[in-house]
């Protein structure tokens, strides 16, 4: 019987790592986020079609088909890129926490602590991370959806200017900065008859594209296009426009916590990629050049 836990975990991980950018994405790019999501779905579909055709279980298995030197070089490049992106992710979140929530907490300290937490999450590799991702994605996705739903009465569509509605120039920017992170998850996905993962992965990408686009649209509709453009974290600020009685006065804090979870998942995934690449480089060093590479 196919194991559906890990595919679902991969989908959840994709949702988390892509939704993180709802915090940083300029609200004017909400339509571009949607278009980039559709493009990412097409790329994902193509990836799984390729995996079926050429029968590779994941991206690393595909790398193993390269010549020994080229595979080592690819592993090294992925390792460096993932490490740099992990540091940037942790410090993006640390900057947000410093500016909006904990001004007394130095950015370097918050960034270091977040990297440490991400490292602890990533230490058992992707399977454990994917298992952790399922409840986290439900929690973060639930908060994002609830926040969007509760703020609906405050939306004012006349505040959306034409420049917001017709700005497809940012498509490739969003594709690179946001959906580029999905490539790291693809390293762990492919064609495995025991783990049918296409549907879960594409669902994760689609939900993340929707969360990104709706968060940006909400910011522009609630704050106004120009006001949102003048703020460093418009999606976060827009989440605070409504209050429910006396017990939920700071709803943006919940929204920020959900997105912080997404950032933590992204940093953990990138560190898991680093760990996998390091292991592969070590294994290759021990193997003779003529031996078939380990999968």
């Amino acid at each position: 019987m196919p194991d559906r836990v890990f595919p679902r975990g991969r989908g959840a991980l994709l949702f988390l790592i892509l939704s993180a950018d709802a915090l940083l994405l300029p609200s004017g790019l909400w339509l571009d986020a949607l278009a980039a999501g559709v493009l990412a779905l097409l790329i994902g579909t193509g990836w799984f079609a390729l995996a079926r055709k050429y029968r590779f279980a994941d991206g690393f298995a595909l790398l193993d088909r390269l010549p020994h030197g080229a595979a080592r070089l690819a592993d090294g490049l992925i390792l460096v890129l993932a490490a740099l992106l992990a540091v940037r992710t942790a410090f993006d979140l640390a900057g947000f926490l410093h500016e909006m929530a904990l001004p007394g907490l130095p950015v370097w300290l918050a960034g270091g602590v977040l990297l440490l937490c991400a490292g602890l999450l990533a230490r058992h590799g992707l399977p454990a991370l994917a298992l952790w991702a399922v409840p986290s994605a439900w929690a973060a996705g639930g908060v994002i959806a609830l926040s969007l739903l509760l703020s609906l009465p405050d939306w004012s569509l006349p505040r959306l200017t034409l420049s917001t509605l017709l700005a497809p120039a940012g498509l490739f920017r969003v594709q690179g900065t946001v959906f580029g992170h999905a490539l790291f998850v693809l390293l762990f996905t492919g064609d495995d008859p025991d783990l049918p993962q296409t549907r879960a992965a594409l669902t994760g990408v689609a939900c993340a594209a929707l969360a990104l686009a709706l968060s940006g649209l909400r910011a522009a509709a609630v704050l106004g296009t120009r006001c949102a453009a003048a703020l460093p974290y418009p999606a976060y600020t827009a989440a605070g426009v409504f209050a429910i009685g006396d017990f939920l006065q700071r709803s943006e804090a919940l929204f920020g916590a959900a997105l912080s979870l997404c950032f933590l998942a992204r940093a953990a995934l990138l560190l898991a990629v680093c760990r996998a690449c390091l292991n592969r480089l070590r294994t290759r060093r021990k193997q003779p050049v003529s031996a078939p590479p380990a999968v």
Binding site: E99, M100, L102, P103, G104, L105, P106, L109, V113, L116, L120, R159, T161, V222, L223, G224, T225, R226, C227, A229, A230, L231, T237, G240, V241, R250
Partner: protein
């Protein structure tokens, strides 16, 4: 075990043990008013909430700071005491007529730059009164003056008697170069704050007042 010890130490790093200010070091502001003198200097009056004990009654305390520009003004205000001013609970920001006529853009820009200012903050313009006097006016009900004023403006805006324009909407209109109106506030002879029509802005500057019971 080493990891567990490390995790136990982390909360110490994140809180006041690292010398970082915590919530107790912040001075919550309820209402603020800014006015401009003849030389272009700005004066900020803030109503801060002071509560000695958790179960004790809160009381208002007033602080005044001066500066050359809105950014300088907020920096001077933050430096007044050991506690940083915290605008997250602020409900009303009153602007003097002279400053409103000079233009709101620098002030609104400074407010947007502050991470602690919520965009649900209501801007209002002082009409035939000083912003400082409006901030310091007593409340009729047994409430903090800033709370009472915030409730009054919310109620009148809901009833449609006043422009319902929080900071986000005012900033958007200002940045778009659109006309907009803010509530006008005045001081009665017995020292109460009352809404008094609206202040109409064109190109970010006060063009005049309209409506209001005392000017009918």
């Amino acid at each position: 075990m080493k990891r567990l010890l490390l995790l136990c130490l982390l909360p110490l790093v994140l809180t006041g043990c690292a010398g970082a200010p915590d919530a107790g070091d912040l001075l919550p502001i309820l209402t603020a008013g800014v006015s401009m003198d003849a030389d272009g200097g700005l004066e900020l009056t803030t109503e801060a909430v002071r509560q000695e004990e958790l179960e004790g009654t809160a009381s208002s305390t007033y602080l005044t700071a001066r500066g050359d520009s809105p950014d300088d003004l907020f920096a001077q205000a933050d430096a007044l005491t050991a506690n940083s001013l915290y605008f997250s609970h602020a409900r009303t920001f009153i602007i003097d007529e002279s400053l409103a006529r000079a233009g709101l853009r620098p002030l609104v820009g400074s407010l947007l730059d502050r991470g602690d200012v919520r965009l649900t903050l209501r801007l209002a313009v002082a009409r035939d009164a000083e912003a400082d006097d409006l901030v310091r006016a007593e409340a009729v009900a047994a409430q903090l003056p800033g709370e009472a004023l915030g409730d009054l403006l919310d109620l009148r805006a809901e009833q449609g008697d006043l422009p319902d324009l929080p900071l986000s909407a005012a900033a958007d209109a200002l940045l778009a170069g659109a006309d907009f109106s803010l509530p006008a506030l005045t001081l009665t002879d017995d020292g109460r704050v009352l809404p008094d029509g609206q202040a109409d802005f064109r190109l970010g500057r006060l063009a005049g007042f309209s409506g209001g019971d005392t000017h009918a």
